[in-house]
């Protein structure tokens, strides 16, 4: 995020709570993530008025209502695209995108590669519960085929996707993973994402006790495995190898990859400078180009 968004006198995590009451089911992993977000915002010192929280539709996508910031609760799958526009319009603000696995990788999957590739400066926290929570339990792109869900009474017919591998392939410049049961880790990784200038992606496993009966809190706890201490976060190949372990039942937790690349707004700014852009540019110069 841009540095302008940092407040001088830091706020406490609770200062980032809005007065809309949280509506999730008891035991939902999303609570842990939300608390981690409050902490991360506090630790990164983000000024609420300099932050836009943006979501699509889903249980997780309700999050912006609960955050004290500017916020948009948009359409299913469109959070990232909307956020791209907001970021380019106001590169001085911090942009936080919050949403689910279905929102991000099913209906929103077409936008993901481009945000990452273009290195749009935002922090995307994906609440990965392997299910569609809000619509009451259909399988999502991260569901395991074992799951007998709403539209898959005989089990799922397909392999789950690997969000981390996707994001590394797409060119995200900050890729991390955590688990809602470890709010400290979550907070730290989200804070790192907020502080990173570029497209940050944090995948957070989050149990949905109401509908996902197989990816329980215990399942996730066993699944995750801290990224090795000696892992070099600038080594894309090594990050890819770590990400590939997920399918073998060892999902890396921690920061996998971090790179410096010009952000889209920086490149756009360079174009403005290249043509001596100015708010007072004499429009007659443009008009005159169209004379016969």
């Amino acid at each position: 995020m841009s540095i302008a968004t940092v407040k001088k006198a830091p706020l406490k995590p609770k200062d980032y709570k809005s007065d809309v009451s949280v509506v999730w089911c008891p035991g939902c992993g999303h609570y842990g993530i939300l608390n981690a977000i409050y902490r991360a915002l506090s630790e990164a010192g983000v000024d609420p008025s300099q932050l836009i929280s943006i979501s699509g539709i889903g249980c997780s996508s309700r999050s912006p209502y609960f955050i004290n910031s500017y916020k948009m609760h948009t359409l299913h799958g469109r959070a990232g695209a909307v956020a791209t526009g907001a970021q380019l319009a106001r590169p001085d603000l911090a942009i936080l995108v919050l949403g689910g696995d279905g929102d991000g990788f099913s209906i929103g999957g077409g936008h993901m590669p481009h945000m990452a590739r273009k290195n749009v400066d935002m922090t995307y926290v994906l609440f990965d519960n392997g299910i569609y929570g809000l619509t009451k339990g259909q399988y999502s792109p991260t569901s395991r085929p074992e799951m007998k869900a709403y539209t898959t009474p005989y089990g799922g017919p397909e392999e789950p996707m690997n969000p981390l591998l996707y994001m590394l392939t797409y060119g995200a410049t900050y890729v991390a993973q955590a688990f809602a049961g470890k709010p400290g880790v979550c907070a730290e990784l989200i804070k790192g994402g907020l502080e990173h200038r570029g497209f940050s992606y944090i995948n957070i496993y989050s149990q949905c006790p109401s509908f996902n009966k197989i990816d329980t809190i215990e399942f996730y706890r066993d699944l995750v495995e801290a990224v090795p201490k000696d892992h070099d976060v600038t080594d894309l190949g090594a990050a890819i190898n770590l990400a590939r372990q997920s399918s073998e039942g060892r999902a890396p937790m921690g920061l996998l990859y971090k790179a410096d690349r010009p952000t889209l707004d920086q490149r756009m700014h360079a174009m403005v400078e290249g043509v001596n852009g100015s708010p007072d540019y004499d429009l007659n110069q443009i008009i005159d180009l169209n004379r016969p």
């Binding site: 916020k71 948009m72 948009t74 909307v82 852009g277 429009l283 016969p292």
Partner: protein, 570 residues
Amino acid sequence: MEKKDLVIRIAGEGGEGVISTGDFIAAACARAGQEVYTFKTFPAEIKGGYAMYQVRTSLDPLFNQGDTFDILCAFNGEAYEVNRHRLVPGTAFVYDYPAGDFEPEIPDGVIAYPIPMSQTAKDMKSYRSKNMVALGALSALFNINEKTLIEVLVDKFKSKGPENLSFNLEAFHKGKELAAALDKKDLWRVADPVPAKDVLIISGNDAVGLGAILGGIRFYSAYPITPATEIAKFVAVHIPKVMGTLIQAEDEIASISQVLGASYAGKRAMTATSGPGLSLMGEMLGMASMSETPVLVVDVQRGGPGTGMPTKHEQSDLFLAIHGSHGDAPRIVMAVEDVGDCIHMTVEALNLAEYYQCPVILLSDGSLAFSTQTVPAPKPGAIKIVERKRWDGTGEYQRYQASPDGISPMADPGTPQGMHVATGLEHGPAGAPNHSPPNHEAMHRKRFGKLKTVVDFVAPTQVDGEGQADVGIIAWGSTIGVVREAVVRLREEGIKVKGFYPKLMYPMPVVHYEAFAATCNKILVPEVNFQGQLSHFIRAETSIVPISMTICGGVPFTPIQIMNKVREIL
């Protein structure tokens, strides 16, 4: 001769210089003080195929492409074949002969000017000079001002090096000489130059781009699509100059989403597309209605449905523009008449979006997209920019607070204490979800109610004529220009006709329609679509029972078609 205007049609194979020849003539005429209205058809093929460029020019204002041409310049056999049935007595016919790829039959009364274009080019060892030969011949035959023409050529070719320029000029002069050796037997000639007016010559698409820049956009996102892509091309060059950003998105859904995001962030933002793209944007346009976020979509209509006829003219997206989102999703829809409108109504559309905090759809069409026209040069100082109402920072801020005019101030992100949500869920005044029956009804009334004053914000319609008429013609979009001329010519015949030209399509300015209809015995509504889309809305929203007149062959109306219909229903 009586006729004050002149129509020159140049036709040939795409890539042979048909388009540049037309552009040169148009620019030279404009520099010589003429008004210009051009019309092009592009090949549907990827490369090659039949291309046509028609220049209409006159000292008086022009409103459309004309009924037919006075002069045909055919670069090849296909050009002749396509147009031969329009070679009526009196037409001048300039063609590549001998040594072209065809040998035409010259109909009685047609004045033929064979010019060995290909041969001359071949002699000069450059196929690329063929169109310069033709240009020289046309200039000599029809008094296209040589001085301004050469100025135009110099401006065009000087950047390509002195050899290139002198070579092209040489070809031009060869063409002139070849024509001078022929006997001028027709009466067609461009009027002698008069002092040039303060005009631009610009296409509809470029004009939308110019309007966008003048209208203060700072964010533009679009996905390429025929026939709207040139707008992005224009904007891409200029927007960085005013510190703005253009992004080519991954698809139209992303474009409109980005536009919504940028607009929420406080910037004037827009996209442009054609029918297929507009179809994809319906859901997000509903979100803009619901969240009361300003967005502008320019839809350059083309032949539909489906992929349809991408390079062809049609006015068939009115239904979609007005009704294209689920639920009751209010918006403002406007339509441009000509290239001048493309500039000014783009500014206006941006103003409306900002002021009314809602989606605005501005309809252009395939024939205007590529039509270059002379338009008065806009004066930046005279352009009125209306900003959205912004929160003054006092009291407790509620984004969707009720207000007498239904418009609630917005707060740009970054404003201390202005934090709020833009949401697609039904919500109460503060933005929190609220599904209670009275709230939903009240919010509907707010979102629709605020649009009641749109009709006072813009000039929603124009009336052409006074008193009582036998036939009143209601036209929209580029059909208006055709009707304007038909009305003048019908009046010359003594027929009592009036014209009514809505620019604001929705919300419909019903009172204006009714007032107009009260002065006409019959109402005719010509439009280029199959279903009679405007007629549908007129029947639904007014008491008028119009006579619907539709064509949908991918080409605009001609004045004669309208005139014939009026005479028929009189």
